[in-house]
Structures are given as C-alpha cells and as structure tokens.
C-alpha cells in the first residue's frame, strides 16, 4: 500500500551506518546498545512490539534488500524457524553469548585478561580488526565494543542469508530481540488479549 512515508521509514540508514562505522572506529559499536535497550524498554513500559512493528532499522534493511532490490528468492521459511522451542533456544543461546561477552569485558576490566582486538563472526571465525582501534582508550571499553560489534555483525550475516533464501524479513521470525519483546508482551498482557 502506498502510504505516507514516516521519519522512521528511513531508519535502515542508521542500521547500515552502524555496520560501516565499525570499520572506522570500533567504539561506535557501543551505539548498538540502543537496539538492545529501546525495544526492551518499549515492551516493558508500553507492552507492545512497536519497535519491531514500526522502528527497527534492521527489519527495514532486510525488506529493502529483499523486496526493493530483489535480492530475495522468497521461498517459504522452514517450519523449524517459527517453532517456539527453536525461537526460545536461539534466544537463550544468544543471551548466553551476550553474557559471555560481558564476562570477557569484565575480565579485561579487572586485568586478568588481555584485550583481543578481533571481531568474531558466527562465534567461530576471527577477523583481526586492528585498523579501527587506537590504543588510547581503556581496554575494557574496546573489548566490549569488539564483542558487541561481533554480535551485531553475526546477526546481520545470518539475517542476510535467510533474507536471500526465504522471505526478506525471515530474520524477524527467530530474531532474539523479537522473541524477547514478544515474550515480555505475553507476560505483561497476560489475560488482556
């Protein structure tokens, strides 16, 4: 449907910029916390998924790549992706990796571990990332940035792969933030629906 464009229809630009800025200075990765806290706050305070439904730049980016640029072959998604157990397992996996990242940051903060300047893709492949980091800041701040950027890049890559093979926004079916905000809404609005 042709409707009026809203300011938030352009948020895919922010998502793209975020990924690019990581190449320039890894510290920009900290901005990614916005995509972590905003959806949570909206779902906790308002009890809805307005973040997914309206604002999320990543969803828009996949829509743009898949629908406008025609990069998607739009097959039906495998049923496993939408199964509750799969979505929640993926969420738990993601949160575990997130916790691990915080722990590593903490160890670097405490001095019991050296800063590792790599971006880890798909939790296994290491990319040396020295070019976007200068040594002038506290190592733990950089460590968190590397960890967070790895999470964002990995999820974008997974999202792009499923965007290509299945419907453009297939990432949204198993996106941990989407699953988490929906779960919060379920708890918060229990009995109200």
């Amino acid at each position: 449907m042709k409707t009026k464009k809203h300011w938030y229809d352009y948020l895919w630009i922010a998502s793209t910029l975020y990924l690019l800025l990581g190449f320039i200075n890894i510290l920009f990765a900290w901005l990614g916390l916005l995509c972590f806290f905003i959806p949570l706050i909206i779902s906790i305070v308002k009890g809805n998924k307005a973040y997914c439904n309206k604002y999320c730049g990543r969803g828009k980016l996949f829509n743009l790549l898949g629908n406008k640029l025609g990069l998607s072959i739009k097959r039906e998604c495998p049923t496993i992706l939408r199964r509750q157990w799969f979505r929640y397992s993926f969420l738990i996996f993601f949160l575990t990796m997130f916790g691990n990242m915080i722990f590593v940051t903490y160890m670097v903060f405490g001095g019991s571990r050296e800063l590792v300047n790599v971006v880890k893709l798909l939790w296994t492949i290491n990319f040396p990332w020295n070019f976007s980091y200068n040594n002038s800041i506290s190592p733990w701040i950089a460590q968190f940035a590397f960890g967070f950027y790895s999470v964002m890049l990995t999820s974008t890559v997974l999202g792009i792969i499923t965007m290509i093979f299945f419907k453009p926004r297939t990432w949204c079916v198993y996106c941990p933030m989407g699953t988490m905000t929906q779960a919060i809404c379920k708890v918060k609005n229990h009995g109200k629906e």
Partner: protein, 66 residues
Amino acid sequence: MKVKKRAIIPKNQCVACGVCVKVCPRNAISIISGVYAKVDDSLCVGCGLCAKACPASIIKMEGDVQ
C-alpha cells in the same frame, strides 16, 4: 451462494513482526498487545498479499461459503 476468501492467522504461531500489517491494502490487520496479528474480517478482501509477505509463512487464505 458466494465464496468470500479471507486471511486466517494462527495466533500461537505468529511472531508479531508486523510485516502483514504493513502490506495489507485495507488496513485490516493489527498486532494485538505485541503478541499476535489479528485480521478484521469485515475489512479483509481476501487479496492474499499478507499471506505472501508473512516471513513465518503462517497465513492461510480460506474461502467461506456465505
């Protein structure tokens, strides 16, 4: 006898992403409490655009005999 098609969304499989809401030309779908999408039968014209777009591929088009 007329067969009217309409979209059916299984509530417990919906991920509430809102993709269907955006494509519906009749504004017939809304996300209820951030949990699932619901079709307003009185607005739905059975065009099937939502079923095509749903990333979870859960929307079925059903014909009602009226």
